[in-house]
Amino acid sequence: MSYEEFLAGEPVIVTAALTGGVHGTEANPNLPETPEEIGRAAAAAEEAGASVVHLHARRPNGERSFATERFAEIDDAVQRYADNVIIQHSTGGTGAPAGKRHLPLRTDPSPEMASLDMGPLNRYDHLTSENTRAMVDALYEEMVERGIKPELEVFNDGHLNEVHSLLERQELAEPVYATLIFGDGTLTRPRPRNLLNAIDNLPDGAHFNTLGFGPHQLPFATMGILFGGHVRVGLEDNVYYQRGELAESNAQLVERVVRVANELGREVATPDQARDILDL
């Protein structure tokens, strides 16, 4: 994908990362945590223009859960409240054993998409989320078995090498879909030229999704729209609407990026258009 896709007016897929697994309502009281709250948030995000919802599961007190049953409860709530949105489960899980990382793939029905972290990243001062190649391959293979489209999460430039390496090891269905992630720590440094560089280093024909953490969410989403990519916003990645002002909802963040896309002349993809683009 490239600036040509922008000029051609290709629709932009907006993903809403509704809840996450790192912070919770201690960071923003508007962040949905229960299945009911996540279901309603998904419906509002879809109404605002999101065609994909990226989901994590939590215990009743907001702490992380990897249980298949908990993901199923959330999916049920999303399907109850939302219309046609694409469900994408996270398989991320710092410090969680490999077995737990597979559980979000085992709902019935399977999610249409699931995230696949492409390599290690640091958390806090004494912890690394390992995401070994063996783990990546095992998760990928179960996704293929279950007909789930992987969303390759590229947290830094080394993970771009891992995308190419995965393509050498496995036969990925086209189009390859990679989320380019920018922020602090082990992430790619959030600078515009680094986004261009990452786009240039994707495999031929890949589609990219653009994700900036925290204050980088809006600028990187805007650049992603301009450079012909897709965008991810939501309270998982950014709890503020602007400096010092907490976001009121996921839908508020989706509405803003949809306004930007419309101003820049790019149509926002419906869920069915997103399914066509990603060949789900």
Binding site: G21, H23, G24, E26, N61, G62, E63, G95
Partner: protein, 63 residues
């Protein structure tokens, strides 16, 4: 064994929740859900190895 600085409570001076949540008495604040897994030594996590708040607090206590 969970971290000795972990408590579950519903409120602090400035925050109130429907459920009891993980509160770090060393830091004096509610902690992120992912950090709560470290506090509880869940999965492959260990507060004595992975939590900088615990390590810094223990270091200070030992001096």
């Amino acid at each position: 064994m969970s971290c000795p600085y972990l408590e579950y409570q519903q409120s602090s001076d400035d925050q109130q929740f429907d459920e009891q949540r993980a509160y770090c008495t060393a830091a004096g604040r509610f902690v992120q859900p992912m950090r709560a897994d470290i506090c509880n030594d869940r999965y492959e996590l260990d507060h004595a190895e992975h939590c900088e708040i615990y390590l810094e607090h223990e270091d200070g206590t030992d001096r």
